[in-house]
Symmetry: C2
DNA sequence: TTAGTTGTAACTATTGACATTACAACTAAT
DNA sequence: ATTAGTTGTAATGTCAATAGTTACAACTAA
């Protein structure tokens, strides 16, 4: 199972917003055309990013822009914004293990710290990369075409 | 999105196999009762673990056992055994970004190394934990009940 | 031969992701 | 005030993966 494409799409969208901000109004249509998905998918995604304080979206006049400095937005911020956070855990525990079995009633306690450490390792790595880093890579690559 | 419960169920199953190996034949029925899922789900899972060389399952006579030393089985081995590996990547990239857009045609190149680093961080953490570690925790917790 | 078990196919239900259509709400420009 | 362009969102549909269930052939050991 994989992390949904919303995450990579979100990064793509943010790079677009930053790249085109001086040239044109960055509408959901423009973003949809770059990502190659339906504009409604982009609008829903922008709502999630907006709720997380990452972007501003203007109703009516239209257009999206970054809501805070690029170096203050980490990949983890984006991940948390677009992936179901109520779930909280990266791992899915089977419900209702048999409490009459010594393994069944303790498996949660046995695994929880280990699973948390794994998830933390991933999240720490995500936290260490900002959109500023990504933009710097992107400018280099696009500039060298 | 979450990693499927097959992963935590697999660990649960391995802990059961090791815990009960001297007391009884560890059948899919027994495992199913501890995990509290259908026995067929367990059998399918055991097939995946068997294909990965982690367990042996006896047809006919019945019963599952570990196929190699506990300290040679890491959580990553289990993860790779039960999660779709063809997919390979933890992250799901949107297909067909627009090649006419400078961002669209470069987004893959921009993100790939970053995403690999994140996945590696997770896998390294998984690699550092063996079933021997988990069993040692489990024995402590179960013994102290 | 039989009882117990695994291996697997077939079918179903459920869930989440994603696509699509439609339209109300809103803003700015004219 | 009207209009054109845009966002916000509901409703609906499709698809894939997970997981539950039934059924039964294949196998082994007693």
């Amino acid at each position: 199972m994989q992390i949904s494409s919303r995450f990579t799409i979100a990064v793509h969208v943010l790079v677009c917003i930053e790249t085109f901000k001086n040239d044109r109004k960055v509408t959901s249509e423009l973003l949809a055309s770059s990502v190659n998905v339906n504009a409604v998918v982009i609008r829903r995604l922008l709502q999630q990013l907006k709720a997380a304080g990452i972007v501003n979206v203007a109703r009516g006049s239209g257009g999206a822009e970054m809501a805070k400095p690029l170096e203050d937005i980490t990949l983890l911020d984006i991940y948390n914004a677009v992936e179901c956070v109520e779930c909280g855990s990266l791992f899915h525990f089977h419900e209702n293990p048999n409490a009459l079995c010594p393994v069944g009633r303790n498996i949660h306690a046995v695994m929880d710290t280990r699973l948390d450490k794994i998830q933390n390792a991933m999240e720490n790595e995500m936290k260490s990369v900002t959109i500023a880093d990504i933009m710097s890579d992107a400018e280099k690559i696009i500039g060298s075409e």
